[in-house]
C-alpha cells in the first residue's frame, strides 16, 4: 500500500503524518508512507487545499484532518 501525505509543512500536515504513522503501526498494515511537499505534485492530484491524504492513488480527504477511525477504515477495508 502506498500512502502519500500532501502538505507544504504546516502543523496540520505534521499531525496528519503522525496520525497515519500511528494507525499504520497499530494495524500492522504494510505501507510505504511518503510526504509530498512539492506544490506542483500536490496540484497534480487536483488538490486545492491541504493537508490531504492519498492512498494508492486515490485522494481520501483534503483540507481537513480525518479521524483515527476514518484512517483505520481506509487502510483496512478493501
Amino acid at each position: 500500500m502506498k500512502i502519500e501525505i500532501l502538505g507544504v509543512g504546516c502543523a496540520k500536515c505534521h499531525k496528519l503524518e503522525e496520525l497515519v504513522r500511528a494507525v499504520v503501526g497499530d494495524t500492522g498494515v504494510s505501507a510505504e508512507i511518503i510526504k509530498v511537499e512539492d506544490i506542483k505534485k500536490i496540484m497534480g492530484y487536483g488538490v486545492m487545499t491541504t493537508p490531504a491524504l492519498v492512498i494508492d492513488g486515490e485522494v481520501r480527504i483534503a483540507g481537513k484532518m480525518p479521524t483515527t477511525d476514518q484512517v483505520k477504515s481506509w487502510l483496512t477495508v478493501k
Partner: protein
C-alpha cells in the same frame, strides 16, 4: 495555487457553458480569481469524479459556482457530490441568454454585482499571515 491548512479556503467554479452567458461566467470567474479573493478550480474534475477535486470541494470552507443560466450545471455538479455551493446565476443578475455579447464591460459589471451580492467581505475575511497562508490557525 493550493491553500494550506484548509483555513478560509474559498473555491470558485464556472459553468463555462457553450452559450454567451457561459463564456461570460468563465471570464467572470477568472477575473474574480485574479483579484485574489478565490481559488479557481476545475468543474470538469468534479464531473469526472477525480478524487482530488471532489475531496477539495468537500474540504473547502466555501464553494462558489458561477452559472450563466438557470440550468445551473455548475451548482448541480457540486450538489451531486453532496456539496451545497453559494450559487450565482448570471441571468438572475440581469443577463439574457443568447442576447449578451461577451465584453469586458459586461464581465466587469457581473463581477461587481457578485461582489456586492456577497457583501464584498471576502478580501477582509481572508487574512493571510505567516509562511503557510493559513491565517495563523495552524
Amino acid at each position: 495555487m493550493a491553500e494550506c491548512c484548509g483555513s478560509g479556503t474559498k473555491l470558485i467554479y464556472a459553468c463555462s457553458g457553450a452559450a454567451d452567458v457561459g463564456e461570460i461566467a468563465d471570464r467572470v470567474t477568472r477575473k474574480l480569481r485574479k483579484e485574489g479573493d478565490f481559488l479557481m478550480t476545475c468543474l470538469a474534475g468534479i464531473g469526472a469524479g477525480l478524487s482530488g477535486y471532489v475531496q477539495s470541494a468537500k474540504g473547502a470552507d466555501e464553494n462558489i459556482t458561477i452559472d450563466g443560466c438557470p440550468v445551473a450545471c455548475a451548482r448541480k455538479t457540486l450538489e451531486r457530490i453532496g456539496v451545497t455551493p453559494t450559487s450565482y446565476i448570471l441571468t438572475d443578475l440581469g443577463l439574457v441568454k443568447g442576447e449578451s455579447p461577451v465584453s469586458e464591460k459586461i464581465v466587469d459589471l457581473m463581477c461587481e454585482k457578485i461582489k456586492k451580492a456577497k457583501g464584498s467581505k471576502t478580501v477582509q475575511e481572508r487574512t493571510i499571515t505567516g509562511g503557510c497562508g493559513c491565517g495563523g490557525k495552524c
